[in-house]
Chain length 323, copies 2
DNA sequence: CTGAAAGCGCTTACAG
DNA sequence: CTGAAAGCGCTTACAG
């Protein structure tokens, strides 16, 4: 900017005015400045500008994996909202590691992002206290924060899993296997709870032999299904706790003809005729980002918790009686 | 930092030294400073720091859609490389819009990112000239840049499509339909070229009636297949130009029993038994980011162009003679 | 309509 | 081992 001022023969402040399209600049002067800008290929340094103004017009997004279809859908929605507010998005993957989550969050804070949308991997978020106090917006998505009062957007995991399990029960299944993530993960624990609720409501016993937590790979799913098939009273249906578990189960099923319903919709689930309990990552992202920008716009209400509904989509894999 | 210095009763510079873990600070002083930092919840402002040092330890990534599985895989790979180099990633979606691409790129430049990985939507990248001259690293991925000499990582689209089409031909197909994106998109044009090459090499005529460009939605695919089925000499096989076209074609096929092979692998393609020509988005991202950080480390060689191979994965949908 | 001075939060280069 | 001064590239607040 100094160089531009020199070349145009004006003061720094005048260049600043032209760049910011502030009124009250002689048109002829403005033209001279713009020519100099063009000639020098000058681009304003946003970092320097924002050092004064306080805001960085950027937000940080921490998700489990930017490459995962569910979270990348969420990202897309956050991006859209951010863009509408003139904000850029730093995004990073925690990989379900609390240490990495903290690193990322603090790196974003050090860049002085205006706000943060976080899918928490860890349980402890007290370290965000100073940021919150300093006016940074923080919204947790998909899972609640550990020990920090902040806006949160969740999905009705329990209700969805309950509905999916009840759906299988309504077709006459009494032995329903559960394949899903470790209950150390909030959403998995909630869904397992929904599964148990549906069983209880139907007067069915909860049988730990039918529960495979951590069975989200093909190998693990196969092992679990092999074990369960060998039971005296094997399952006739499966409820899978997330998209990865569903695909793993489908791969592992082989010739077994169990009914199946799964949590999470995925792109060609319709082609596979898989019945799912769908959650909406785009709506999740929209809602979380909406909350964040409302805070940044000055909303000072108490922290909110929003719970989004799920939707059962019957496609054939679940709608059959026990073989 | 000023507040910390005040509270600890030292000069600004001493706080700076402690924060940067520079040697030569009295341990007792350091402890006092660290206490003040803790008490105040102080976090160094990276933006201010980098204003002096020049580097921002961040890069920008422009892809077509952060929510698309192919590009989000690329993102994940770029993130991993960036992380290894201590860099954060701004990411944004161009939505195949050259104007939006330019906006994003310039917004990243204004934030003074150290480098850029761009999947170009537009044809003109001369506007990046000043940045390149100023030492910013720029790598184009998936598609070549318009009119700027910069590192580029591509996929062997032509060779892949040629191999996929030849695969269908090897099973006796002579009438092979093409469903894909508009040839205005570089990768689509290249793949169409590969399809034509395979036909020519087999002595088969190129029939425009069998080519549906823009057929990447279920409706468009259905319309195209309806039209082609009604031909006097209908196709017996389909080659789809990308993942979306493959899924659209599968949805549109209905009772028609065409052989099918498609460009792009997708998550449960194995469950659907779909034969694909797979490209590797993770490798694409790794390679592009690797090139970028090599530049940032001082590599001054002439711009490179790297072309990555594809891999044909037979899964059943293509391996059958004409009905 | 235009500009000189001070300052955003930090580091660099130098002095003690 | 510690600090006062200048400056990174910009804006704010004020004066002319």
């Amino acid at each position: 900017m100094k160089d531009v001022a020199l070349l145009a023969g004006v003061a720094l402040k005048t260049v600043s005015r032209v760049v910011n399209e502030e009124p009250g600049v002689n048109p002829a002067t403005a033209v001279r400045v713009r020519e100099a800008i063009e000639r020098l290929g000058y681009r304003r340094n946003e970092g320097a500008r924002l050092l004064r103004s306080g805001r960085t017009a950027s937000i940080g997004l921490v998700i489990e994996d930017v490459g995962d279809p569910f979270y990348s859908g969420l990202f897309r929605a956050v991006e859209d909202v951010a863009r509408r507010h003139g904000s850029l998005v730093f995004a990073g993957s925690s990989g379900e590691d609390p240490v990495r989550e903290r690193e990322l969050v603090l790196a974003f804070c050090a860049r002085r992002v205006d706000g943060l949308v976080v899918v928490p991997a860890g349980e402890d978020h007290a370290y965000l206290g100073p940021e919150l106090a300093a006016g940074m917006g923080v919204v947790f998505a998909d899972r609640p924060a550990g020990n920090l009062a902040a806006d949160t957007v969740l999905v009705d995991n329990r209700g969805g899993a309950r509905a999916g399990t009840a759906h299988l029960i309504s077709y006459g299944h009494r032995r329903i296997a559960w394949l899903g993530d470790s209950p150390a993960i909030f959403t998995a624990a909630e869904r397992l709870r929904g599964y148990r609720t549906a069983l209880a409501e139907a007067g069915l016993p909860y049988d730990p032999c039918l529960v495979a937590s951590g069975a989200t790979t093909t190998e693990a799913a196969r092992a679990a299904l092999d074990r369960m098939s060998a039971l005296a009273d094997p399952p006739t249906a499966i409820f899978t706790g997330n998209g990865r578990a569903t695909i793993a189960a489908l791969r592992a099923l082989g010739p077994r003809r169990y009914a199946l319903a799964g949590f999470d919709d995925f792109e060609p689930a319709d082609l596979l005729g898989v019945t799912v309990v769908a959650q909406d990552p785009v709506r999740l992202g929209h809602t979380a980002a909406g909350l964040l920008f409302a805070r940044l716009a000055g909303d000072r209400d108490a922290p909110r918790e929003i719970v989004l509904p799920t939707r059962l989509i019957p496609r054939g894999s679940a709608e059959r009686p026990p073989a």
